[in-house]
Symmetry: C2
Subunit: 419 residues, 2 copies
């Protein structure tokens, strides 16, 4: 236990020192590092794939299921993706040092804000080895030091990728401790890491709800967390039929296993007759299991009775719960009670309904006439995302480079003193 | 203990319900409440001053010192200040619902951000009763519910002021639970409050370093904290003599007991001969005790030898530590090591030095050619401040209405589905 504490202290001190230099590294130097890492991954393909093979074999022997093995697996196409993502992050504009809102005050001083890195991030993630590179790249570009803790099943892949990161940093003249990977698979490392307020400024857990909850419960360091996505699409009484059907269908069936998929459809009673027969038929043809409230059940024999638990379930599957409501207030009340605060969308042609929905619904993304499937860092123009925050503190929704920074004040004067 | 837990649960549930309605209350209604509270305080002067008298007498009997008694004391002038502050907050623009950065994306959707309240705030404070009103007003205007826990020595004053708040809320047609005051002086209330993640979105402790540290150590709810202000003024080799003397003198002597007072003066060796004799004489005449490094000590017999501990001390008194440095890098290294991250200022006519200082120094306020005394919400144009954050997460520096909010995403489309 003491040796783990010592390890975290050492990593923490290294990270603090490195982050200090990274804070004022210029944009070109950071971009050079990113491009160097990309080149190194390309050069090391064989080595990385061999390491990944080792992880895959070990995991098969340990009886990991197919879905997990797929997440763990790397091949040339996935390495191409990693390389592409590095070049993309290099082209994003640097958030650090951006000055905004610089204004004169009556006293004569000018007051503005300058964007700065948070400091040192701790990232705890599960099986996907590409996270090692993605996260290193986003932290690097946003000027943050980072300590990575990947899943034990991916340790060889992660180490192989991490050696590319280290080489890329050194080649760009940056401190190699800007990114550090914890190479022990000892479990107590995580509990020490999330307590290390002296060295870590924020923790981002990337993984299932279980991991995120466990970390949030024990952390002393602030956590940027993404719990789950119980997203709603609400078809208003004034919804356009075509848009309603397209949006609801896309929001559920685009991909089932993603957090921005709609899990519950709310429908205004007076829109049911006009829209639902066609929409239900479409879902049934697609093979989506429908679980409805009492009123919904009357619409088709294919619809199973929903239980109270359904409204609180993130299916991540070809299942949709449907509830008919008598007013928009009822729809908003349902969302308030059952949403996980991720993403909700209204389909309506009515200006007042749309205006009210985006004002009153308090989720990290609120939409009018679009599929909840758009809730994503790339679609929002962030260039990349390190995760999606369902918290309200610090940052909400998809977290890009800006979410890894905050703003200090700058004050410019000419000998001003305060009376 | 269980009864305290039940109390917090009840207050928390009330606050959540009230905050939900407050989130979408319109600006006029919130301003009406603020003006109503002001009118009620004016009407209740006698009652408030009587209650305050009770607190003062009890505190005198308990042997509270003069400084604390002064903080606790209310009179007509201070009530005028409270009333004035309420009207000022009513005139500030409403941060809630502000939409920014709404832009079209290549997919055809428009993506922007909308500012929303954090939810429910918990404020833990010490003897000043005016905090009850100031904090209630700022939370109200920013759309947040709030649970207040004041010092036990001010309980009667706080209850009298709180009854004005309640009346003001009711008269404006708002839920009176938007603001709740904990009326038990039981100490375990605080530890329950800072654990109540289900009901409280952020805690702001307002008080001495001891209070803030104790709360941060035990809190599960995010804390916006202001630990202390060890602020630095650095006189660069290219400083203008007049500006350097005026700024350094003002930064130390404007008021001694405030967190934005400069505690350490750093002086470039090559500026010493030109500037320090006059500046030292000025400090000595004013009665400021000077504690210097070895080199500084040579300048005057009045200067005491500084110890290592001096560089880490917030004097809040007529004491200044002085260190002569051989380069700006040395000055920045000293600040990095000893600053509390509150406010630092450089005095220089050199463009490159100024640019480097504001980029590299990572404190919540960084200044060029101004007194650190300007680090203040009113001076920055926030209209009012609920505290000063020395954290980096969520908000840095003086915290006004915006610091009590965060931004959700809004997405506007026209039937868009994601491929």
């Amino acid at each position: 236990m003491d040796s783990i504490k010592n390890l975290i202290t050492l990593l923490g001190q290294n990270a603090r020192t490195a982050a200090k230099t990274l804070r004022s590294a210029d944009t070109q130097q950071k971009n050079n590092a990113l491009n160097n890492i990309a080149a190194q991954v390309d050069k090391d393909r064989k080595n990385i794939l061999n390491a990944n093979q080792k992880d895959l074999e070990q995991s098969k022997n340990n009886g990991l299921d197919t879905a997990l093995l797929d997440r763990l697996m790397l091949d040339d196409t996935r390495l191409d993706g990693i390389i592409e993502s590095l070049s993309q992050i290099a082209t994003l504009s640097d958030p650090v040092g951006e000055i905004t809102d610089l204004k004169f005050r009556p006293s004569g001083i000018q007051v503005g804000k300058m964007r700065m890195p948070l400091g040192v991030m701790g990232i705890i993630y599960e099986s996907r080895p590409n996270v090692t590179i993605d996260v290193a790249a986003l932290c690097l570009k946003s000027g943050n030091g980072v300590i990575l803790r990947g899943g034990s099943e991916a340790i060889n892949s992660n180490l192989a990728l991490y050696s590319c990161v280290k080489q890329g940093l050194i080649n760009a003249g940056l401190d190699q401790n800007c990114v550090q990977l914890i190479d022990t698979t000892e479990r107590s490392v995580v509990s020490e890491l999330v307590q290390a307020t002296a060295y870590i400024d924020a923790i981002i857990p990337r993984g299932g709800k279980g991991l995120v909850e466990a970390i949030s419960d024990s952390a002393k360091v602030p956590v940027i967390k993404h719990l789950h996505g119980i997203c709603h699409t609400y078809i208003d009484k004034d919804a356009d039929k075509r848009k309603a059907i397209d949006i609801a269908f896309n929001a559920k069936t685009r991909r089932y296993g993603v957090c921005n998929a709609t899990e519950t459809l709310l429908v205004h009673a007076s829109a049911v007759g006009r829209i639902m027969p066609e929409l239900i038929a479409k879902f049934v043809t697609k093979g989506v299991e429908l679980r409805g409230c009492k009123e919904t059940k009357k619409l088709s024999k294919q619809i199973i009775q929903a239980t109270e638990q359904d409204w609180d379930t993130e299916y991540l599957d070809a299942i949709l719960s449907i509830r008919i409501v008598n007013s928009m207030s009822e729809a908003i009340a349902h969302i308030d009670r059952h949403s996980s605060g991720h993403t909700e969308s209204i389909v309506t042609e009515n200006y007042t309904s749309g205006r009210r929905f985006i004002t009153e619904v308090d989720s990290s993304s609120v939409m009018i006439n679009t599929s909840t499937g758009f809730a994503d860092g790339f679609e929002y123009g962030l260039g990349a995302e390190i995760g999606i925050s369902t918290d309200k503190f610090h940052v909400r929704g998809p977290v890009g480079l800006e979410g890894l920074t905050s703003q200090k004040y700058i004050v410019l004067g000419d000998g001003h003193t305060r009376p």
